[in-house]
């Protein structure tokens, strides 16, 4: 049974912070199909379109019928742990620090056998659920879990190495004035975060939900204005070394396309809050996050972006807004590559219209702030890189995979 995680003590200031090391991480282009699946928390393997063989490791030709049509498909993830090994020594600098490390061979019911990292509660011969995970170097690996959940399962060290669980971590919610920011403060507090810093800009302006926000357990309000470089830098100067998960809840939602907007005042505010806000956070908090990727139980773990799904394809009714979200998505992709050097993940959560004032005239389905918050926490607990929340986001994602042009045209009519 997994030993429950103990809340880490305050760090010994005389101790050197360990440099984040990364596991080996080169894969073939074909094998990146596994990374794509792991990023979204799906279990997908290549399935031959001609003979239906399930194939692992990824290949360019079917070993049974030589077909080159080998798309990645969702596959049953159940199997049996055939054999396990405990690695006690390694010349690999990443694993040397993490010994002992258990790996084993899993026979999938769907066919192939896969070498996987093993959860501590799984024993040889037992039934298992296999998951694809993104490791610290950004590569997909397989992790074998017990067939049924076990107590304190998420506290397993090999599992926690692959996830960004808020438990015992210190979280910064960058904007507590929004309904989503408040819902996330509540959700990460419930998920066991040891401190929830919540940024509030313009403290002279009252805002709805303020009293409730202040009463959430372990919430500490901090001065943070994402549109102000000085404010972001000062906040980072005070708190960055104590932020393990940063969740950017900045939002700026306005209707209208590019022509409809008169002048640039609104567009500038939108970019200041969203694109430049993200840039300010990345510059002020990024270097410290990246340096603390291996800093014990409460190592720096994730930078979370909340993005409209219309970052992926423009919705002209909210056209200028969509363009700004697209800029944020592109920046987030760069940030992901930059933070990976420190073993810190970037989680992008995509969602459609929210159940908030700025989407008042949009008909349902809409995503409730609390639902978005729960989905983000879950994706952190699973160590995902991307999560699509709600019917609209799922739909946009699915249709982009099939026919992006048709979707563009439809959104524009």
């Amino acid at each position: 049974m997994t030993k429950p995680l103990v809340r880490p003590k305050r760090k010994d200031p005389l101790k050197k912070t360990r440099v984040p090391l990364l596991p080996q991480g080169v894969r073939s282009r074909t094998a990146l199909g596994l990374t794509a699946a792991a990023a979204e928390g799906r279990f997908r393997l290549q399935v031959c379109a001609d003979c239906a063989a399930v194939i692992y490791p990824p290949r360019d030709a079917c070993p049974r019928c030589l077909s080159a049509r080998l798309p990645f498909r969702d596959v049953d993830n159940r199997g049996t742990l055939l054999a396990e090994t405990t690695i006690r020594t390694s010349t690999d600098v990443y694993f040397r620090e993490r010994m002992p490390w258990r790996i084993g061979t899993v026979q999938l019911d769907a066919g192939p056998s896969i070498v996987a990292h093993l959860h501590g509660d799984l024993r040889e011969g037992e039934r298992t659920r296999l998951q694809l995970k993104i490791d610290k170097s950004g590569q997909a690996i397989a992790m074998a879990l017990p067939a049924e959940d076990t107590p304190n399962m998420a506290d397993d060290p090999q599992w926690r190495e692959l996830t960004c669980d808020p438990k015992f971590r210190r979280v910064l919610i960058t904007d507590g004035r929004t309904a989503v920011g408040q819902a996330l403060a509540e959700a990460v507090s419930e998920a066991g975060a040891s401190v929830v810093f919540v940024g509030v800009a313009d403290p002279w302006k009252p805002f709805p939900g303020e009293d409730r926000l202040r009463k959430i357990e372990r919430v500490e309000i901090v001065a943070l204005d994402l549109t102000d470089t000085i404010s972001v830098n000062e906040c980072a100067g005070e708190f960055a070394a104590r932020v393990d998960i940063l969740i950017n809840t900045a939002e700026y939602v306005r209707t209208g396309g590019i022509i409809d907007r008169k002048g640039l005042t609104v567009a500038r505010e939108e970019l200041e809050m969203r694109y430049f806000g993200l840039t300010r956070l990345a510059q002020a908090f990024g270097p410290v996050l990246r340096a603390r990727g291996a800093d014990g139980v409460n190592s720096a773990a994730a930078f979370v972006n909340l993005l409209s799904v219309y970052a992926l394809v423009n919705w002209p009714a909210y056209g200028a807004f969509s363009a700004t979200e697209a800029a944020c998505l592109s920046a987030a992709q760069s940030l992901r590559a930059e933070l990976r050097q420190g073993g810190v993940k970037v989680l992008n959560a995509f969602f459609g219209p929210l159940e908030t004032e700025w989407y008042q005239a949009v008909p349902p389905p809409k995503v409730a702030p609390s639902a978005l918050a729960r989905a983000v926490v879950r994706a952190l607990q699973q160590g995902q890189e991307d999560v699509f929340v709600g019917d609209i986001a799922e739909d946009v994602r699915a249709r982009l995979a099939v026919d992006p042009k048709a979707l563009e045209r439809e959104l524009g009519s």
């Binding site: 002279w204 302006k205 009252p206 204005d225 549109t227 005042t265 505010e269």
Partner: protein, 260 residues
Amino acid sequence: MSAPDLLAFASAVAAGDIEVIDLTHTLTPEFPTIVMPPELGQCAPFRMEEVSRYDERGLGWYWNNISMGEHTGTHFDAPVHWISGKDLANNSVDTIPAANFIAPAVVVDISKQSAANADYELTVADVTAWEKQHGRIPPRSWVLLRTDWAKKSGRDYVNMREDGQHTPGPSPEVVRFLVEERDLHGLGTETIGTDAGQAFHFNPPYPAHYYMHGKGRYGLQCLTNLDLLPPTGSVIVAAPLKIRRGSGSPLRVLALVRRA
């Protein structure tokens, strides 16, 4: 009358016989700006981006790029700011005659009334009572409204409630009186805006803006240190930036006061 002796004036300033009192708040990102409903255009707050600071971006020098609205921080309102002044001659900061940037001031103290009632409105009776004590307001004078609001900060300074801002200001009647009967140069306040916080509900809305700018007169707002000025006898130096067709500008407001 002999020609004024400017050198004597400069010596008096240097010697401190004429005190220079700074009526300006420091420009900072945190200083509140006026708040409009979120679907309307907003005045940009002050922002500062470092260009270099003796570093790889410029080894030997420190400088910043700054941005803000015309009505951010301690600032000047030109007549063109309001629709009532839009067609006047010389109504923007770049065309106002430079001599108008220096004018005498009187200080009307309603700090006690404002402390008791955040929505206190200056009345004609207040002004005539003041005149009984200090004499008639000279033509082309700034009227500076002392409320001690500048001593407040944050939430207390802006005083936003669910029905809007609550800060003192002039009644519609007193603005008309000052403009028409006293040939006022302009009105200066400590609050955000020359009008009261609730002036949207006055008739006309925002009477200080409406009547003053309609007559080509000026506004100064977010002033501080008005409590250091005598009721009469000070001179204000308030020159906005020369922005083409500008409706206003942040500026340094100085009061010259003969030392008692």
